[in-house]
């Protein structure tokens, strides 16, 4: 039950892109068409969902003072987390290349960029600072990925439409994308007061 709360919270209320603005680079760069956005969004869900539990295990059993080594190694956290993320991304890259060459070519250089997608590392760092349990960290990974997926699809759809509007030349493309994201972020802020626990219990 608690895991479900964490999922809902991560996907909507504390959306990684729209509330924390994590993973903006690929979010802005790959959101020109819904089709590629869809592929990248799926890849992010997958990578987040898989790295979060692995990093949880590493943090709990390798780095913490009561872990297997028995030393406070938390200063090595960044390096180990990013190594896990990089190898997972490489794995996803290989899988996509085999499964769907067309998606692979359209994602182009952005696939390796998932590694440097702040949302992935940010998710792991949030997980540590919030002391999630193992179950919750899985839920947070999937929820956060899903929220990211939703956000990129939404902005891609808007950007596809806005191409037909008469935007001032200087604002076309990137500038407009920034302002749109700001507006979406404000819209998502209205979800902030929702208490998932109360929602589940049917209390208002």
């Amino acid at each position: 039950m608690e895991a479900l709360n964490v999922f809902i919270k991560a996907a909507f209320i504390e959306n990684l892109v729209l509330a924390y603005f994590l993973g903006m680079c690929s979010y802005l760069a790959v959101s020109k068409s819904v089709k590629t956005a869809f592929g990248l969004g799926l890849a992010v869900i997958f990578v987040l969902g898989i790295t979060m539990p692995i990093n949880w295990i590493i943090n709990e059993y390798l780095l913490s003072e009561d872990g297997l080594i028995g030393m406070d190694l938390t200063f090595l956290r960044f390096i180990l987390f990013i190594a896990v993320i990089a190898s997972m991304v490489q794995l996803v890259e290989m899988v996509i290349e085999k499964a769907s060459p067309s998606l692979y070519t359209s994602l182009g250089i952005f696939l390796p960029l998932i590694t440097v997608n702040c949302a992935i590392l940010g998710g792991s760092l949030f997980m540590v600072s919030r002391d999630y349990t193992f179950g919750n960290s899985v839920a947070f990974g999937l929820g956060g990925g899903f929220g990211w997926f939703l956000a990129i699809i939404a902005i891609a759809a808007i950007r596809e439409k806005i191409r037909y509007s008469n935007v001032p030349p200087g604002l076309r493309g990137l500038g407009m994308a920034f302002i749109l994201t700001g507006l979406m972020g404000m819209a998502f802020m209205s979800l902030m007061g929702i208490d998932p626990a109360a929602l589940a219990a049917g209390v208002n």
């Binding site: 802005l28 990089a86 702040c118 940010g122 030349p169 920034f178 700001g182």
Partner: protein
């Protein structure tokens, strides 16, 4: 940029600070700005810019990391095995970021607390990785180092502009939290009990929108707009 004074000193060693080298630093400030043109490294730009002081610290940290990761990668570029180059680059970056984190803890704990996870997120700041891939892997150490500094500066410039705008309109202060703290506009009694700074526009009440992360998006959007209106070759055709 005050490269001119340095240039005079190094005039004999021409290639050290020639025209090309200077461009490495000045280009990213405008024509090839990492944030507004290359679209790299935006996450942290938004999260820490509600105040100027953290923005400045963040900018310095990023300049340090871009410069030295570019230098290290460039030194190692002929030895790094192609198949694992991403991981190698990330290890280098992560190491430098850890150094930054330890240094902040050592020298200025309060600001370390304030920046918290965003220090770690420098690792995934695409500027760093992007410059390693695009520049340091193919260029000599000195030039890569300059390229790193230039891109760090270009990034820091936008960060600080956004920070200044957000802090003045959001809180009416500048450099809050640092020894230079001052109250610029708005009602003085609201924040500092015994401030001696004279403030303008006493009627101004703080705009809470500017403190929200969304405001950073608007400010950057507008910076891009201004930049592209002045420099039409950057306009997006699509």
């Amino acid at each position: 940029m005050s490269t001119t004074t340095q240039e005079v000193k190094q005039v004999e060693k021409e290639p050290l600070f020639g025209k090309k080298e200077r461009r490495l630093i000045t280009d990213p400030l405008n024509d090839n700005n990492p944030i507004t043109v290359q679209i790299l490294g935006i996450c942290s730009a938004l999260a820490v810019t509600s105040l100027v002081y953290p923005s400045v610290v963040m900018a310095i940290a990023v300049i340090f990391v871009t410069a030295f990761s570019n230098l290290t990668t460039s030194l190692l570029r002929n030895y790094i095995p192609k198949s694992v180059r991403m991981i190698v680059q990330l290890i280098i970056i992560a190491t430098l970021v850890t150094v930054v984190e330890l240094m902040l803890k050592y020298f200025n704990y309060p600001i370390y607390k304030q920046l918290s996870v965003y220090i770690g997120l420098i690792i995934t700041n695409c500027i760093v990785m992007g410059r390693l891939e695009a520049f340091a892997m193919a260029n000599k150490p000195w030039r890569s180092f300059l390229d790193g500094i230039g891109n760090g500066l270009g990034y820091g410039l936008i960060l600080i502009i956004v920070g200044v705008v957000r802090e003045i309109f959001g809180k009416g202060t500048l450099f809050a939290g640092s020894p230079l703290e001052m109250k610029l506009i708005g009602n003085t009694s609201e924040f500092f009990i015994n401030t001696t700074d004279s403030t303008l526009f006493g009627w101004y009440s703080n705009n809470n929108l500017m403190v929200l992360p969304a405001a950073a998006m608007f400010v950057i959007g507008i910076i891009i707009w201004i930049q592209r209106s002045r420099n039409t070759k950057l306009v997006d055709i699509s």
